[in-house]
């Protein structure tokens, strides 16, 4: 909102095209394996290289995944859809036409629910369709090669309406789409490997202005934070341009073109202008029959849908009393959410548990470049740590040391147990001081030194007690049993 703050009379208009590679076993129109990272031109058949006489045959698993996505976003799944040829010459396109769905896509409409700040928003989807991916060119100093391993990998292209107005909204929408694809196991959604690719269209217009001004397409954003930065940068760039030339025809100020995001420079860089519209000469693919889906087939798939991220998020907020941000972060990553769900089996302190799973441990694992589910630390370990905190066996401060030890032990060679109970047991200094005689003088001193807080507590302000407990913990360097401190404080205050 920073930019809009400076340019309050402008309204950005943002739409996203998300290309998700579906994680099917074979490719969209051939039996070649759909697998990333193999030796070039290993995963190919005559279909993938456009050999004369080769014919496409539609992969049913890809259709199923597309339908799952459609149902997950409440879209209409077309009972009649059709593939079209899209003609253009490029060496990564083995037939020099792509097989896509132009006139009759498989998925129509639907929307993605996102919580933006305190507001719940539904971002409408225009359509989603199946198409095959292209191969990849590799350029050398005086020649180029093509790898057709990716050629024919199924893509679901998800096209939003031009319905977003801030960079944040664009990023949140994209994250929500990724989470849905993740939950229904339709895509690996790995932006680094290119299995989730996002193109964003950005234009700005004067508030209240009808119609759209020229849009800029931005490609090559490999993370959600880069997406957000790129959109924010582009909005500012366009507004500045229009304001610099208020008398020029807007058509001439911003021309329809494609940019890419340069994360090092922190700016969008022009790739090419679109001076005239490309003519792809779409027409129905005669080698494939129209795709007819029965209502029974669609209903059968609907029954197999798992709990979706947005539903789970709502549940976390309403049933587990998590904060909206906490809930969103948890559900946005399917693995993390599953980890949390498992930890919940052994621990009812959901809020604290969430904090340790999405804040405390990720912070400690950052340097290792790992996520919690990738480590040997089990959900039950975290559950047990949180239980020890919440029942006063250890203080929050000690818990942090225990967590440090868990991470350290994880990488140490001697295979020490990661269970926090075992760690505490093996380190007597972690055990809280429960000896009343040791703690009492400190409590008395704190009560004497904070007469106002004591008075506040007596007057009914509970927070004052927390402050007093904190003071005692501070002086004991966190080693006192919070339970014992509490008891002694109450006794002390009562005596007064």
């Amino acid at each position: 909102m920073k930019t809009a703050h400076h340019h309050h009379n402008w309204e950005p208009v943002i739409g996203l095209e998300i290309h998700a590679e579906l994680n099917t076993r074979s490719k969209l129109f051939s039996s070649a394996p759909n697998h990333f990272g193999d030796e070039p031109n290993r995963n190919i058949t005559e279909v993938c290289t456009g050999m004369p006489g080769a014919l496409p045959v539609l992969n049913k698993e890809a259709v199923r995944k597309a339908v799952q996505f459609g149902l997950a976003v409440g879209a209409r799944v077309a009972t009649f859809s059709q593939f079209d040829r899209k003609s253009y010459f490029y060496p990564d396109s083995p037939r020099n036409f792509q097989i896509t769905q132009y006139a009759h896509p498989i998925i129509l409409g639907g929307s993605v629910m996102v919580v933006v700040g305190d507001e719940e928003k539904a971002f409408p989807i225009n359509r989603a369709h199946l198409e095959d991916d292209a191969g990849m060119l590799k350029h050398f100093s005086d020649f180029a090669t093509v790898d057709y391993n990716r050629a024919g990998v199924p893509l679901l292209e998800i096209v939003s309406e031009p319905c977003m107005h801030t960079a944040k909204e664009a990023a949140l929408y994209a994250m929500a789409v990724k989470a849905i694809l993740d939950y229904i196991d339709a895509s690996d959604c790995n932006m680094q490997e290119g299995s989730l690719r996002i193109d964003v269209n950005v234009s700005v217009r004067k508030k209240g202005e009808a119609g759209f001004r020229n849009k800029i397409e931005i490609k090559n954003m490999n993370s959600f934070s880069n997406l957000e930065k790129a959109v924010a940068h582009e909005i500012t760039r366009q507004i500045s341009a229009y304001e610099q030339y208020p008398d020029k025809d807007p058509q001439d100020v911003i021309q329809q073109s494609t940019y890419r995001w340069d994360p090092d420079k922190g700016q969008t860089v022009l790739m090419r202008r679109k001076e005239y519209a490309d003519d792809y000469r779409y027409f129905p693919e005669p080698d494939l029959l129209p795709l007819i889906l029965t209502p029974e087939y669609i209903e059968e798939i609907r029954k197999t849908l798992p709990e979706l991220p947005y539903e789970r998020e709502k549940r976390y907020i309403s049933k587990l009393q998590l904060g909206p941000q906490q809930a969103f972060t948890l559900v946005s990553d399917k693995q993390i959410a599953a980890y949390f769900e498992e930890a919940l089996q052994d621990c009812t302190y959901a809020k604290t548990l969430a904090n340790w799973i999405i804040v405390e441990f990720p912070g400690r694992l950052k340097e290792l470049g790992k996520t919690l589910p990738e480590t040997p630390i089990q959900p039950s370990h975290i559950a047990s740590l949180v239980n020890m905190i919440e029942t006063g066996i250890i203080s929050g401060k000690i818990a942090k040391s225990v967590a440090d030890d868990m991470v350290a032990r994880m990488t140490a060679p001697n295979n020490l147990p990661l269970d926090p109970g075992a760690i505490v047991e093996a380190n007597p200094e972690y055990l809280p001081i429960t000896n009343r005689e040791t703690i009492l003088p400190i409590v008395e001193a704190v009560v004497a030194a904070n007469a106002q807080s004591v008075a506040d507590f007596i007057a009914g302000r509970d927070r004052a007690l927390a402050f007093l407990v904190g003071q005692v913990m501070k002086q004991t360097k966190g080693s006192a049993s919070p339970q014992v401190v509490n008891e002694l404080l109450m006794e002390c205050i009562k005596k007064k």
Binding site: E46, T49, G50, M51, P52, G53, A54, L55, P56, V57, L58, R85, S87, F89, P91, P94, R95, N96, F97, V146, A277, D279, R281, F283, P286, D287, L288, L289
Partner: protein, 487 residues
Amino acid sequence: MTDIHTLTALQVHNAFKQGKLSASEIVAASLARITQHDPKIKAFLRVFTERAGKNARMLDEKRASGAPLGKLAGIPIALKDNINLKGEITTCGSKILEHFQAPFNATASRLLEQEDAIIIGKTNCDEFAMGSSTEHSAFQKTSNPWNLSCTPGGSSGGSAAAVAARLCPLTLGSDTGGSIRQPASLCGIVGFKPTYGRVSRYGLVAFGSSLDQIGPLAATVEDIAMVMEVLGRHCEHDSTSLPKGPDDLLSKLNAPIKGMKIGVPWEFLENLQPELLRSFQASLDMYKDLGATLVPVDLSCLKYAIAVYYIIATAEASTNLSRFDGIRYGLRSKRATTLDEIYDYSRQEGFGDEVKRRIMLGTFVLSAGYQEAYYRKAQKVRAHIIQKYNEAFSHCAVIATPTSPFPAFQIGSITDPLEMYLADIYTIGNNLAGIPGISIPSGFTQDMKPIGLQLSAPELSEGLLLQAAHALQQVTSYHTAIPKEFL
């Protein structure tokens, strides 16, 4: 046996099964015929002397071992050169694929070899099956065995001429607008275009995907029925492949046609040459004698068929042929120094004029701003034509027409492409409607050029169609005639 070449495919197969002939003898006879006679007609682009000889020896061993023999055991077959045979060159009659070695078998080729047929070579055709005279081959012009100065028709002219000259009893062709039936007619043999989807197109180099069908050419309807039992199987590599077809075509061939209603679209035949009209009427009279009744049907909509065809077929072809770009296989221009030059020069040098003409036409009818007026309108007319066929077939079992509006013509005599396109006036409707059609020999002109009769039936009615064709062949002997120079 010195006259193996006069045997039909079925007779060859039976002689082999009964031990009267060995596969090696049969193949040797066929190869000898090719050596002796093919230089006169140039039907073959390549002959697989070694491969065929080796397969024949293996088949003889198989027979000796007592193992069960395939349904086509011992029959030498040639393939039109747009049908892939693994490991062999597939040129499609084009320079752009002059050295292209097919990395996989067409389903049709696989089925033939699976049933112990012996593939002996590849036959000439118009480049990418685009033409009606086989003159558009980049490699050679094929002659009509009945008149060496005439074309055999096309595009499967090599396959038709090879059978007419009795170089082998059976060949495969492909038919997008008449490319099997028209050369069969001009060469005095039987040519069959099955229902769209009956024979897998997998491994057939595509021209017009919604129209293309592989089909057989032979001297008799019996041979067609025999090979169709093998070719008409479902194929999982072709999304438009039909479920398995009937495998009792041969045994039911003799079903009487008494009472069969034959439709004749008279108003569509108004401008037919008198000599061809007389022959056509003579064929209809024979059908009446066989107990069939004639009913008039309305197919006047077919006057639009050529226009519709040259929009749809070229639209599909323009994209099907995009893959020939000099990048992955095929000809790459030596002059090219940039990517665009690889595309431009390779296609300039690799494609012939007729192919270029159709690519340009197809690109045009699909372009933004023109697609509505051409491609989409053509699709609507195509749907209308299908409907008119359905109406016609509600009155009759099969429809009879001539196959070609003219008999074999002199090589080089037709220079106007539009005039050449008229050669397919009677055959194109079947491709647009996806229905089967067969051309059978039905007479000769005064100057001894063969005349063909075309019969058409509703989709999936191959059995009925073959019965009707076979019935006429039982009471005529045109199909047994062999051109003088090839006796």
